[in-house]
Symmetry: C2
Subunit: 351 residues, 2 copies
């Protein structure tokens, strides 16, 4: 016994650009890092999975293949996949969580389909109107949690308040901070600025007093500055901000490289600075921050970037493990119930 | 005669953190770069301006001081300043444009006040529902124009269409490109994605066919990639995107510096790469991109960043000069009239 209960994870082995190879390799990395603690249900085409599993040497004691005949295409529409996707590896992997066989599902497949299926299969938590997608971003004061990243293009004040509590619990679970600070993304720090729904959400969060650590409004530049642990916005602004950061980082790196390549002395200088630069690159490695977490559901569902490699996929699994070990769904339900003064009566488990 | 008519510019010499010194120094830089072509009305406290003007050696033939007794505070509320700000340097500088004495006004003062006063004094162009704030950003394919940057937190489809045409004309005027490409900022490139008002604006722009160079939806990462010459969004998303880029760039630069400082060899390497790095820094110098242009008004009003220095202020004046020399208001009015099929009858000039 390692002192920890075996955690069963459900893996969609057929989702993502590099599936199933990088999925299995990622599973293998995580399995080696947690010996004797994890068990994986691998959903996918057995004939394809078996040789890769043999190649990477995945311990037979830690996995079971569930053969599936179909998978969700990258360009599939969520509505269509809900109708005809019941034989896909993604659907079956989610169902394993719904039926209580696994604690969390991880997939690198189609985001819209994963969200739609997770919502239908797992259901939304009591007290939550709409689930949201959360991500982790690097900042000057360490990693931060940001949500919603695209599930809800428009939100009302209550949605934003619920996202705040969901983000608070996620940050707590991932980084062990008791009362993470929460900021609402806006276009000015004054109380009169921005959109009405954000000002109303701010008023509700203010009224909660000591129950939460609400900081106030934050602006676009405060995200990377890490002014708050959690940044909350509707899915439209959140998605724009996230992708804008990615684009800016890529552009700066490319422009720097071009400038340096123009001169031999500069290139030599950069070679000398190599160890610092690789430390820098490591810090910003997007794979570390891989894993978009679907919050507000009655089960854990994590979306890995479709184009990531084995290490990136392993990072998404690690996020799912933390969320599962700390029972994030239960914690979120309780936080919603406590802070929003609702009955915390559980509608799924026996007393 | 230089072949060019003398252009008269109106300057709010009391606005911004470093006024009036950096304002006068900026004016002096521009005057030297355009000998015999410009004349400045300087609005401000004569007792403060005179010694600085003497110090920088501004040619007496190219300016006239208009003494003012008041100025707009950085924290003044627009509504309050509209009531009681008629003696401020900002108001009087704008009035010089309204009354036809100057072709453009440049101020580094309070943005909200400058927008409110410019709207009231200058009026909105025929065919335009709401003015917008535009800015220039660096990108992988050269400078791009982005709007709205914060004047309108919410927009309807027609506003976004008008911003598209206003941005198109601005890009044309600044960079001499006949048919700049226009993108609508959204959270996906598929036609079914994002908010309704954006999809409706896209449908209208599509229908315009060859009259404009409409590209389609662009996402956050496409801004810095420079996928289109013009990026159009509501003022909320635009402001978030702009500040998010600023924040990300600052964070990356700081993190890189920190990592390099940790090692002597790296520092030495970076010294060797110095010339490339300073070229790189020059390319991203935020002062070059200084100047937020208020579009859709019956006159030219440019807002300089409040914290900029003399060189930054001179760049904002240069933008105003290009806009004035090319008669951007007339061009915008005509573009709106032509593309939106309205009567192009001028309501201000004789036939």
């Amino acid at each position: 016994m390692t002192g920890k209960e075996t955690l069963i994870l459900s893996i969609d082995a057929m989702g993502g650009d590099n599936a199933p190879r990088c999925i299995i390799e990622g599973v293998s990395m995580v399995a080696k890092d947690h010996p004797g603690e994890l068990f994986f249900f691998l959903f996918g085409d057995e004939a394809k999975l078996t040789p890769i599993i043999a190649e990477v040497g995945l311990d037979p004691k830690c996995y079971k293949i569930h053969h599936t005949t179909d998978f969700v295409r990258a360009d599939a529409k969520p509505a269509q996949i809900l109708r005809s996707g019941r034989e896909t590896s993604m659907w079956k992997a989610i169902m394993a969580v719904r039926n209580g066989y696994a604690k969390a599902v991880v997939s690198a497949g189609n985001t819209g389909a994963l969200m739609a299926m997770s919502k239908i299969c797992l259901g939304t938590l009591q007290g939550i109107d709409r689930p949201a997608i959360a991500g982790i971003l690097p900042s000057a004061s360490g990693p931060i949690v940001m949500l919603d990243l695209g599930a809800n293009a428009k939100c009302d004040p209550q949605n934003l308040v619920e996202f705040s509590l969901m983000g608070e619990v996620l940050y707590h679970v991932l980084f062990n901070e008791e009362k993470p600070s929460i900021g609402l993304l806006n276009i000015g720090s004054e109380e009169t600025k921005g959109r009405e729904e954000i000002r109303e959400a701010a008023a509700i969060l203010h009224e909660m007093g000591d129950k939460i650590n609400y900081y106030g409004f934050v602006e676009g530049n405060d995200i990377s500055a890490g002014k708050t642990n959690v940044v909350v916005s509707d899915g439209f602004s959140g998605n724009i901000a996230l992708k804008t950061i990615e684009g800016a980082a890529k552009f700066i790196a490319k422009a720097l490289k071009q400038e340096v390549k123009g001169s031999w002395i500069s290139m030599f200088g950069f070679l000398m600075a190599h160890s610092s630069l690789s430390k820098f690159k490591k810090k910003f490695d997007p794979r570390i921050y891989n894993g978009a977490m679907f919050l507000g559901l009655k089960g854990i569902s994590v979306k890995s970037h479709g184009g990531t490699d084995a290490y990136g996929f392993s990072c998404a699994i690690e996020a799912a493990i933390k969320m599962a070990r700390q029972d994030i769904c239960e914690k979120t339900k309780n936080e919603i119930a406590t802070v929003l003064n609702m009955s915390a009566l559980d509608d799924t488990t026996a007393p």
